[in-house]
């Protein structure tokens, strides 16, 4: 895949190479079965989120389980060419199924783990493990791994190109966290009375509420939907991201995260890099749930 990186590098005539390059945006046709089933799966996931938030969480979990089973069978039934990667481009037609399955796993995990006896500060850290494992496994056998792992000779250049993105992500995360706290005003996830809980909550929200969500929604889902549906795929990805926040039980929170998701999606669309948005989302979550409620609450 280093060849792919070099092609991209030379094709952009010296444009900075991003640290975490996302999948290529080249258009390609989807198999008919995928084209037909994609809106069904996406609609079912949104339906599950609506059921969880407004009707009955158990019904939502059941729909997510059915979606997962259907996607698993669909993946098994796909012809090898639909699951195969072309040497000329990152991503494969079945990526969109993998990405949608990750969204269903995210919700099923949060509902099915019986964490009632565990302090709430540890919930994000524990509930984040299964989706994180799924995300790693979903990307491991494919060229995305190679895209994420550049050749040693390119590391210095990548580090230089990424420094401003890191700074941009940190600044945006702090500001968005403050804005989010002003809008939503959530209670603190942990207090300074228990430092282990504070540390666990901080690690959990940065890694799993911030970085993992960006890898799933902007890195995998948006790239796969963009590849499958063109520019409309970006909007569909934003819609799914907003849908998973329906359970926040607050219109302000849903609207805030919908707008944040759209801004992050456009940033990734513009730069083809996850670094800034992953850092921004991690810092946003840390500020919104841990730092600002303690400092300003």
């Amino acid at each position: 895949m280093s060849g792919g990186l070099e092609r991209r590098e030379s094709g952009r005539s010296g444009a900075p190479l991003r640290t975490i390059a996302v999948l290529d945006r080249r258009e390609s046709g989807l198999p008919l079965a995928l084209r037909v089933s994609l809106p069904v799966y996406a609609g079912a996931i949104v339906l599950a989120e609506l059921l969880v938030a407004f009707v009955d969480p158990l019904a939502g979990a059941l729909v997510d389980a059915v979606v997962l089973l259907a996607i698993a069978n669909h993946l098994v039934a796909l012809r090898p060419e639909a699951a195969a990667y072309s040497p000329d481009e990152a991503g494969a037609p079945d990526d969109v199924l993998r990405a949608l399955a990750l969204v269903a796993i995210l919700r099923l995990t949060s509902l099915a783990l019986p964490l009632g006896d565990v302090p709430e500060a540890y919930w994000p850290l524990i509930a984040g493990v299964p989706p994180a494992v799924a995300t790693v496994l979903a990307t491991t056998p494919h060229p995305l791994r190679e895209v994420l792992r550049p050749a040693p000779a390119q590391l210095g250049r990548i580090a230089r190109a990424s420094r401003w993105e890191l700074q941009l992500g940190l600044l945006a995360g702090v500001l968005l966290g403050l804005l989010g706290y002003a809008v939503i005003q959530p209670p603190p996830l942990a207090t300074t009375a228990s430092w282990p809980r504070l540390v666990a909550a901080s690690i959990g929200v940065v890694l799993f509420a911030g970085v993992l969500e960006e890898v799933i929604f902007r890195g995998l889902l948006q790239s796969a939907l963009r590849r499958a549906l063109g520019r409309a795929g970006v909007l569909v990805g934003c819609g799914l991201f907003a849908a998973v926040y329906l359970g926040t039980d607050s219109f302000a929170a849903i609207a805030f995260f919908a707008v944040v998701g759209l801004v992050f999606a456009l940033q990734v669309e513009r730069t083809r890099s996850l670094l800034a948005v992953a850092v921004a989302h991690g810092v946003l979550s840390l500020g919104l749930l841990v730092v600002w409620p303690l400092a300003l609450g």
Binding site: P57, A72, N73, L75, A101, S110, A112, L113, G116, T135
Partner: protein, 81 residues
């Protein structure tokens, strides 16, 4: 307040005991895991091509197994306690 732990999931987790959670949401995950495992083993027995196809769902099976372990672990801990 994240997509993983939002107000709804928080109220579900906090408002139910281990027994009711494991026999509702947990049961869904356990059944899903069993179905996926059986399907995977059947595919492996068919032949090399089917076994390769079964490998495509590993990223769903493994987290479901983790969830199942969590559900069963919590259930056994509840029974023992």
């Amino acid at each position: 307040m994240t997509s993983l732990v939002d107000e709804t999931t928080r109220s579900v987790i906090a408002g139910s005991d281990v027994e009711s959670l494991t026999t509702t949401f947990g049961l869904i995950v356990v059944i899903l895991t069993l179905v996926l495992l059986v399907e995977r083993e059947l595919l492996r027995g068919i032949g090399r091509d089917a076994a390769e196809r079964a490998g495509r769902i590993r990223f769903i099976v493994v987290p479901c197994l983790l969830l199942t372990m969590g559900v069963l672990g919590a259930r056994f801990a509840s029974l023992a306690g």
